[in-house]
Amino acid sequence: MAKLLIKNGRVMDPETGHDQVADILIRDRYVVRVGQNLHAIAATLFDATGLVVAPGFIDMHVHLREPGFEHAETIETGSRAAAGGGFTSVCAMPNTQPVNDDATVTRYVLERAARSAVVNVFPIGAITKNSAGQELAAIGSMKNAGAVAISDDGKPVMNSRVMRRAMEFARVFDLPVIDHCEDLELSAGGDMHEGLESTRLGLKGSPGCAEDVMVARDLLLVEVTGARYHTAHVSTRRSLELIREAKARGLPVSCEVTPHHLALADADMIPYDSNYKMRPPLRSRQDVAALADGVAAGVVDAIATDHAPHPGSEKMQEFERCPHGVIGLETALAVALQVLVHSGRIPLMRLVELFTLGPARILGLASRGRLSAGMAADVTIFDPDVEWTYDVNRSLCKARNSPFDGRKFRGAPVATVVGGRIVWQR
């Protein structure tokens, strides 16, 4: 029986509110005890003095690119980057080749993960076949095979009737429906946020209202269907207001924000640098401020990276031809600490919640995102104050498309424990 004893860390559990220096004893894949002065025979010791010991971080929005785009990322490399960012679990978005729209693909992802991943991988199934927005995917079989949610992510379901049917069906299986909210007609292939900057640079704009109208539509459909619904990477002030109002009326609605949308506005982009190109785009300063407000006010339930690796050759093109997306697993904690905690916007416990209990609740992962006896032995150990500089060329993932290269940070993960094993250490 493998044992791990984590000594003298500041143990934070957002579920119970526990926040004091303590030891954690892990046996095999579970937490056995959290308490003072624990001892164990033949246990591996980890001295966490001066460090925060939190439930394992969960990133509910990651593109692992496997199967089909292994030149950009694999389940193995993506999982290593996740571990390096302090994540013990990631959700794999279904926009692979083939799309994860039936149980065969879901099982393939899980089998590949079992063989090569160093963190837990939870597949997200597609809403529609091939994410084409027409026929429903094999939602029930994917759930039975291990899918934890459904989403067509970057190819949002434009047909409202199809979306309604998907919500009705997902409700039967108690699966959350995750939507990347973007009216593709309104956004019309925009390359950045529509505003002064896009006008100045002569780039096609994607207006904030392209997101807002889809959030509004979805919330109206939730009211009709009662489905559990989650808005991915909210980026506008108005979308957040709509979600807040829906929550106030008791609808089963949740949402996530990304570190890059919390930290960067359209005006921060180095002109025509495709490392700043993603969907939704970096929005206005007002939107960025509203997202931090939303986190502080409790409207936001989770922080997710939307880690989207692209090979250098694809990002080294004319801006309008470059694919959307940035990597984010290894900078997520540091960016969030900087924008939210060191700035005084939220207490550290709330930040931990956004990375742990928040996503665990949305995904129905009952034994994760919590740190107490009986829970899965997924633990993230981090130093909230260590100063370091991000060098994207040392990233554990395959891609290099980050807007944070060279940025100085305060706070970083120190060790990542998955299923009782230390899988990464700084």
Binding site: G202, L203, Y272
Partner: protein, 308 residues
Amino acid sequence: MAGLLGIEGLERSEIEAILNRARDFQPFENHTYKRLDVLKGKLIVNLFFEASTRTRTSFEIAAKRLGADAVSITAAGSSVSKGESLVDTLNTLAAMHPDAIVMRHAASGAPHFLARHLATPIINAGDGTHEHPTQALLDARTILDQRPSLEGLRVAIIGDIAHSRVARSNIHLLSKFGVDLVLCGPASLAPPELARIAPGVRITYDMREAIRDADVIMMLRVQLERQHEAFFPGGEYFQFYGLRLEHLDLARPDVLVMHPGPINRGREISSEVADSQKSVILSQVENGVAVRMAVLERILGGHGKTAD
């Protein structure tokens, strides 16, 4: 000057220096442009990813009049059309050691992207819907041939401003010289953000208001390739935003009518206006060579004064 990517980042003094120097290169009466050898031995590559007869020819003549060797490459028939990436194309060209690359590209920011990766000076000959700096310079030269200064002039820019690189460069240039600038077009082609990209700019959707008391009217080409996007009802453009003779009565009597060409007669401008005494469209073409000579000389001729 390390290159010329746009007007926005240029100092006013730099613009003045180019405009003054361009006057030396203007043809005198029936003579052609002066021939000099200040750029003898220099190699200039004109790389046109987008078709353009007048700008490309103008740059070629400018280079040759200064004694430089000029090579023009157009996308059709080159390795670009065989799927070579922009970076690879430019790396290949850079290995041939040109002294400058003049570049036209359909994507906004393409020259800026390359300027970050290449040491060769890059001159932007029009990038997407962003900037067309030498066009704004030749427009300013054309106005200054007729007026003592730009300060206080009232200039109306009319048409598809949202998608116009000519408009953006002109807005930046004229704003730096204290011009009273009015932009006019249907709301879908003249978004309110345009009034905020430079000081002293306002927007009206009423063409008559834009033209009233104008010293200069700059008409923009209607981008025929964008018609399918329904920015305005088909067939209504000329009725509301086409320049006709009767409009000119609202402007100052000595108003100058300009157009970057090529003209769509009867679409954005009537033939009568295009051919009228007030039109300086051909002077613009003529000044194109003179201004580009001044730009090339400034970037390649060791005149030393740097702007950026």
